[in-house]
Symmetry: C2
Subunit: 414 residues, 2 copies
């Protein structure tokens, strides 16, 4: 992609009410644009990263047998009345009456819709288990929406729902999703600590949260950096500085953000919505359910919060919008031509490259590149024949002969 053609220039001035690091950097770098509090548009750069996050999550959900569906945003009150959640969720749900007098809510979550669908297809134990997921907008009228992509009023989630003939079968699949979640975060380049949820409606052993360390975190997690043992501070039986119950090393008091969660739902929804099946012995039983969520925007926001410096974003290898940011700092025509030729050869080698071909100052190009945060910067100048191979994260630079660049790029990402 030629940067001169890319929509979404970097900006110095952004709205004063953006208090969060992720929203500030993503807006200044041209990834997102705010429509109103908690509601953002994704610009081309932002959508590139978003699609990479989406694809990693999709692959891992497919890997554990998930079948993808797409559920609606408009949901009738009559559906929510079956579980009594129309009133319960009223404080955060967008609810209104349409032109025909039907009461409608925007999907704040999709347990009711998916249970209603599954009910139409399940009769016998032979129809179970079922694993369905979607990647779709959720709408929640949050009181405060000041954390950028970490807490939106409109945001995309991957939500997986599983349906089982027994608690045992759910437990088995719950463990599988637990492992899949750890794999998703690892592939995204995030170190996630899994903790038992600290209570609420679910009992503590029935729910896990996946926590990522960052100063912007609203939760506090006691965690061990050596063996990944972790507990939510509210229910932890050790404190910061104590020995890790698993490996004996010292544990830390860390601010964390919840990047995903998994729940045992049991028969909560199947009871309310009368989702039953006939078991092997001919008896009618309630279906046992689990649900598993990851917010895609929240993941993007978390990466930015966890990985940036004073100059801008530092994307992880799998979420960088482009693999290479090619900065043409040459003034001579000969060298400019070489840069264009080199851009084409990178593309031919299937390397995803953003080429800063703009007619602006060197300083602005370097600043923009650090702000945007693509993992590798490749700088072509009149100074020397070689190119500068710069790693955004630590800003280390090495001089490399042009003919070796493609191999070095592939090595970096392998």
């Amino acid at each position: 992609m030629l940067q001169s053609k890319l929509f979404g220039k970097t900006r110095k001035d952004i709205s004063q009410d953006e208090k969060s690091v992720n929203a500030e950097l993503l807006t200044r770098a041209g990834f997102i644009s705010k429509q109103m509090a908690g509601v953002y548009s994704y610009l081309p750069l932002g959508l590139k990263t978003y699609r990479k996050v989406e694809q990693i999550i999709r692959e891992e959900m497919d890997e554990i047998g998930g079948q993808e569906v797409l559920l609606p945003t408009l949901q009738a009150k009559s559906l929510w009345d079956q579980t009594g959640r129309w009133e319960e969720l009223e404080p955060i749900m967008y609810q209104f009456t349409d032109h025909h007098g039907t009461k409608i809510g925007l999907g704040a979550t999709h347990e009711e819709v998916i249970t209603d669908i599954v009910k139409q297809y399940v009769n016998s134990y032979k129809d179970l288990p079922i694993y369905l997921y979607q990647i779709q907008n959720k709408f929640r009228d949050e009181k405060r929406a000041k954390s950028g992509l970490l807490r939106g009023r409109e945001f995309v989630m991957k939500d997986l729902y599983s349906f089982h003939d027994s608690e045992e079968d759910l437990n088995k699949y719950y463990k599988i999703t637990h492992q899949a979640y750890l794999k998703v975060f690892k592939r995204l380049g995030l170190e996630a600590f899994s903790v038992e949820a600290s209570g609420g409606a679910m009992s503590k052993h029935n729910s896990h949260e996946f926590m990522v360390k960052t100063e912007a975190g609203e939760d506090i997690t006691i965690l061990c950096n050596s063996c990944a043992w972790a507990q939510n501070k509210e229910i932890a039986n050790v404190k910061a500085g104590d020995k890790c119950p698993d490996c004996g090393k010292k544990v830390e008091e860390a601010k964390t953000v919840e990047a995903g969660n998994i729940f045992h739902l049991g028969n909560t929804y199947s009871k309310g919505m009368d989702l039953k099946f006939t078991d092997k012995d001919g008896k009618q039983k309630e279906v046992i359910m689990g649900s598993y969520g990851i917010g895609l925007g929240r993941v993007m926001g978390t990466i930015v919060e966890a990985s940036h410096d004073k100059d801008g974003i530092i994307w992880t290898k799998t979420t960088t919008p482009y693999q290479v940011h090619l900065l043409n700092l040459a003034k001579s025509d000969k060298r400019k031509k070489e840069a264009n030729k080199f851009y084409m050869s990178l593309k031919e080698a299937d390397i995803d490259v953003l080429h800063d071909d703009r007619d602006i100052s060197f300083g602005k190009k370097l600043k923009d590149a650090d702000l945007i945060g693509i993992c590798l910067q490749i700088i072509i100048s009149d100074k020397q024949e070689e190119i500068e191979f710069k790693i955004r994260a630590d800003k280390t630079t090495s001089l490399i002969s042009i003919k070796n660049v493609i191999d070095e790029v592939k090595k970096y990402y392998s």
Copy 2:
């Protein structure tokens, strides 16, 4: 994919209020599930076809320089007040007040949002032209929503918006999108006739509609099957049976459905929202805009309306959810094993295959396959060594040696 694992069994019984062929067939075949009038969920089979439609449209939009973005559903009234469309669109818009007293509308269309974003990035003629598109939900509270996927209350659209420094530049790009649209429909396997729109707010030369012949169509188009000349009946200067003005062959009176449209917007939105740029001569001018839409669900519904028989759907080669429906009708263990082995070899050859491995009657398998409508059926039975190679559209069958099947499948789709 093993059909025994696929979520979404075929059904005989569906709600009596589904009057449209597309909704009836797609529901019975397990592609979609109705949530309420005009609001559907996509089940795994439906999402497979949906993704193919999406990918074709995305590729052609990228090809004409479109950059993909993702715009929000929640839109503040204050934005719509700038064009006066809050009141104008009230009859079809979902409008409500949130918990904070902000008046919000669900995106029925996105001209206001995109113009507001572009305004933040455009100063000079050097920033133009800009081509942005998205693939995203639209919400319209239609009075009647009885046409299945042809007219939904919640539906996915691809909408492209272009921004230019002159009418001439828009005209140039308008022609390019016109060609791209014809290419999209051709790739989808639909024969689309482009007609000038019959009026409304836009003058007739400033808007085109892409019409597909089907009995379910609400429009009537006078068209020539020989040279693809077409006019909307309301403004046509020839009638059915007359000679085609272009090629002289007889024209026809055909019911059609509008599968896409393209508009000259001129300065309508840039005027209302004060989107200006500085031209080469230093003068402030209004940006000239165009918009270009295709409904993805509508395309799927149109394909079903245009391509089905009494037994079910007949997908086009590029929209078939799977390339091959492998029907195992064998009873002998030896032959069953061969079928499983053959299924694996198809997958290894990168052929997307749905394998009906269910333990049900032959008749039911054949009926289901015709209903689902995958282009090719490959039938393995105990009758003979060869497999039956059946084309869903015309139900012609030939006997082929297993070793030749992969070549034949590839030939069919090439």
